[in-house]
Each structure stands twice: as C-alpha cells, then as structure tokens.
Symmetry: C2
Subunit: 337 residues, 2 copies
C-alpha cells in the first residue's frame, strides 16, 4: 500500500484532480487560490475553503479562542484577497469533540464575528459534526469580482518587477518563539508582540488585493506556503523564471534579531517560512515605483520590489550579488511530522 | 464549565447564530437547508455544507470507498434539492491521517466524480489538511435557482396536504442490519440490498426538488434528521401544526420485515430514523393527487400524501385513528454517544 504521506500534498492534489472534466461556468477551477465561477451575471463568483486544525494550526492551551476564530476567517480572506475579489459570504463547518467547553466556542465565534464585521462578510450557514479528538474549523468563503478584474497567476512577463506587500518572515519568527521558551526570554516581551500577532492573527490584504486587481498588475497570489513556494506558482503558470534579491526582502528588525538568536538565517524565514498572508505580485518594471506609492496612499499598505521576472523557468536567489538556485519547497501538510 | 454536549446541537446553533447582523445580499441565512444569496443577477446563489466523518457517518472497514465519496456529495445534493435549486459547483475539504492508503482516496474520488457527473456538478476546488485520527470529507455545494422559484419552509397553510417522496425508514433499517449481524442472517440477502443502498448511497431528489419548486408547492425540506424532526421545521417556520396518518407512511416491505424482526415499530423507523434524503413538502390539498401524478410523469419519483397541515403548533400522529403527540426529536450529533 502507498500512503498519502508518501505521495505528498502536491502529488495528491495532482492525482485527485487529474482529468477533471471541463464544466460550463468554471473560469478558474482547481489549483488557484480560489475558484472563479460564472453563474451568468456581471459579477463572477470566487470560492475558497481552508481549515484550521487543532494541534496543527493552533493549540487550545496556547491560543486565545478569539484569535483562533479570527485567524480561521483571515486565512480564507487572504485567498479571496489573492484573487483581487471582494469577500461576501462565509459558511462555517465545525468539527469538534462533545466535551469541548462552550466558553471556547463562544470565544472563537467572537473572533469570527469581529473579523467578519471588519471585512463586511456575512456568516450565512454551516454545519456541526462530531470529531472526537480535536476541534477543526473549516470555512468556505465566497466573494465576488468583476470579470477581467481578478488577479491572475499566468500572465507575468520577463522584465516585470516582483513585489510583495508588508513584510515577510514575521509569522515564522513567531513560531520560533512559541517553540522555544528560552528564545523568548532573551528579548524584551514588547518586541515579541508583533511576531506573535503576525502568526496568530494575520491581516489579510483584502483592500490591497482589490486595489491591485484594478490597477493592471500582471499577476498576484498570497504568501501562505512561503514566498519561494508561492512565487513558484506564478512562474509555473506564466512559463517564466525569477531573480530575487535577498537584501531587498522586507523583514522586520525583531525578525532579524529572533532569527539570529535562534541560529537561523533571517532571509530563510522570509523565503520559506510561510503563513505571512501577504501578497506577492508582478507589474511592469517602469510602473513599480508609482504603483507602490499609489497603493500606499489608497490602502496604507507598503509594497517592496524584491526582484525581477526573467526568461526560462528557474528561480534564482542573489545574496550580495552571488546567484544560487531558489528552491520552491514550501510546507507539506501531509509529509511533515 | 458547560460542554457543547450539554447544550446540544440545537442549543449550540441558537447560541452561535444569535443576533447575527442583517447583511445585504442574504435572502436566507443560517437555519434553512441552505443559504440563499443575491450577488446581483437573475439567478440566486444557494450554498450548503455537510461533512461525513469516519466512525460517525461511515466506517472504512464496512464501506466501499466509492460509496463514501458518492454519499458525501449526495447528502449535500439533498440540501440543494430541498431548496428546489440546481446544483452547480463543489469544494471538497479533506481532513485525513497521513497514513491513509491512497487506494482509499482513489475510491472515494471515483464515487465523488461519478456522483458529480450524474448531477452535472463541477468539482472546482478544496483543501487538504491533516487530521491524525480519522478521515473527514467536508463538502460545500453551490447551486443556483430563480428568484421566487426556490422551496420555502415558512409558507405552509392549514388544509395543505403533507406529502413525501419515495419511501421512509429504509436507511434506518439498513443501520439495524449493520448493527446486528444476527438480524441480517434471518432474511435472504437479496432483501437487504435495498436498505443497505438506501443507507450507503442515498439518491438525492434533485430533479424532484426543482420540479416541485416550479409547481407551486407551499413548502419543502429534505428528510435528513427524520420525518418528524424535518416536518417540525416546516411547522415552526410556518406557524402551523400537522396531523400525520401512521398508516399512510410509505414504507418498503423489507423495512417492515426487518423492523419487526428487530422488535421495532416500522413506523418509528419512518418517523424518526433519518438519513432518508427524501423530500417532505406541502401543497394545497385539492392539488395533491394531480401534482403527485405529474411529478411521477416528469421525474419518475413517487409522492405520497401522509397527512394535513392544521392550525396551532402541535404535530399529532394518528395510529388507526387514535391521536398521540408526534415528538420532533431527531438525531443530535453532539448529545448522542
């Protein structure tokens, strides 16, 4: 027998989605951040789902229930943001042990409702079922977007600038702190607030995603599995390669401090850490500076140029001018232990 | 501390959905078989989700993976059928142990794909995450329907006939067989085929639901928690009561045989068994016979009149003319053990 762990997440997805028939109304199917569906009106429907699993994505002992709820919706909002769509409706599927304290669920719903209110999402339905060992919050989020104004991943052109919103590696630094109590003791606790918040309650770039989709960027995805892995989706879909400048990666000072204390390369956290829920996008190079300025004025979100799209298919990392292959290995939920 | 088991499924749903704000575009929100959403076009969007959990809804040792996949989509199709909508797009969220044999997942997807093809549903996305102890298939199904042509649950009128498609109690009889090997040994195996199929691979009444929605029935829901429980949703939403004739309940002969052998009342399986995935609906009494005939001609699905909507709020069961209160207690996923 072959287990799904041996196959791995990417192999598994390829296997279960191979040869799916073309269907009327499906503009974008399996494989993007979200499906894009045409139900016969001006607006297209955008649909995504993502689950938060106890002991994989959160621990009840370490995390405020409010934050668990907020994050469960936020990671789905990030997928809608990655399409440049407007989030609208959520269905909440709860799988949980009957012994769960109702106070935990109250807290989770408080977080869910606050996040929903902030992003103008209606909670419209869901399901409840028993899962004896652990709590799972599985959310399907529906959004809408105008045809020809959704972010693609297949249209990056050689010469385009590669840009990223916000900063990278903070969530990975937050995870380092949670995994090593001695590390946390080495720096002032107020310097931990930012990285822990980045991990626990990421801010989905919903307004930035919609703004970018309306301002002719060539591609965009969200950074959920790590910059290298998510950028590789753009490169594969567009048939291009990319050069990334390590020194250009936007990294918060406390991330540098924590990584160094932990004996890790800060840029590795930025490239491979994942769970940043920023957006990485491409734009004709001559428009990069103006676009970043306008994006900031419109949404308050900074964007940083970190490299260039090139011919070929390889991704290359330049550290102090020295090139090395940039591997796209992101997090594999099935293989990892 | 209070656990969610103490609160129960209905109490929990009431608690987590209390005071949800009104939102633009939400025609029907939490509490119906599916949400009905307006994204600004002629067609309304109908959205539902339901999960199949290993050891709660199926056992890998006892069930063909193909059937597990087929059923996972079928129970969602039934919710779309209950709205009279046309099923369109499915998102498949898989939660599973890394040790799962890929052959099991192949079988599940074969069943999923066949069911999707049969009902013209596109598999458009999903998610994969680790759940160490058990496999869960959580599906969100999206459908569309024309405004004013969706099945409601709040418009039953005193005097309406109560009708049900197909027959009741077969899935519950199938469960009796699975739970008691000695029972299965008592009757010829060819007589078990129907009840086991009803349990494992229910047939969602998709065409019948759409047909009924277009032919002026006053209400309709699907029978997932048991006829009494599901009819009570119509009564509560419509502010009416109901009289049900026990002798009119459509029950297959082998269900009567199995129930009797198991020392159970066949009509109790029909009223409280659940998982039939038939439709119960109401229609002005003078149209009931003609409607049943036309429904059969159009879709091949039989419908049987089983009672009458009345004033008040009580549901009453008549056995050989003798009335007794009909309790609405259905299956509670959280309280049951």
């Amino acid at each position: 027998m072959t287990t799904i762990a041996e196959l791995g997440e990417i192999g598994l997805i390829a296997r279960i989605t191979a040869g799916l028939p073309q269907s009327a109304g499906v503009i974008v199917g399996v494989g993007d951040d979200a499906a894009v569906l045409d139900i016969g009106c001006g607006e297209l429907l955008v649909a995504t789902c993502d689950a938060q699993v106890e002991d994989t994505h959160f621990r009840l002992r370490h995390t405020n229930p409010h934050d668990i709820g907020q994050r469960a919706l936020a990671v789905n909002l990030s997928d809608i943001a990655a399409m440049g769509a407007r989030p609208r409706f959520a269905l909440i599927s709860l799988l949980m042990p009957p012994t769960l304290d109702i106070a935990v669920l109250d807290g989770i719903y408080e977080g869910l409702r606050e996040e929903a209110a902030q992003f103008d999402v209606a909670l419209v339905g869901g399901n409840i079922a028993r899962n004896a060992e652990r709590l799972i919050i599985d959310i399907t989020l529906l959004g809408t977007g105008t045809r020809n104004m959704l972010l693609r991943r297949d249209s990056a052109k050689p010469g385009d600038a590669v840009m990223v919103t916000g900063s990278l590696g903070s969530a990975a630094a937050g995870l380092l702190v949670l995994e090593d109590e001695q590390l946390a003791a080495k720096i002032p606790s107020e310097k931990l607030v930012g990285v822990l918040a980045a991990l626990r309650t990421p801010t989905p770039r919903v307004a930035a995603g919609q703004w970018l989709a309306q301002h002719d960027v060539t591609t965009g995805v969200d950074v959920s599995d790590g910059l290298a892995a998510d950028l590789s989706h753009i490169c594969e879909a567009s048939g291009v390669g990319a050069h990334i400048e390590a020194e250009s990666l936007p990294i918060q000072p406390e991330v540098v401090t924590l990584a160094t204390l932990a004996g890790r390369e800060p840029q590795d956290l930025a490239l491979f850490g994942g769970e940043d829920y920023e957006l990485v996008f491409t734009v004709p190079a001559d428009r990069a500076d103006v676009l970043a300025h306008e994006l900031f004025v419109a949404t308050g979100v900074k964007a940083t140029a970190i490299g260039t799209i090139c011919e070929g298919s390889a991704m290359t990392l330049f550290r102090q001018g020295k090139p090395s292959p940039l591997r796209s290995n992101g997090w594999d939920h099935l293989r990892s232990t």
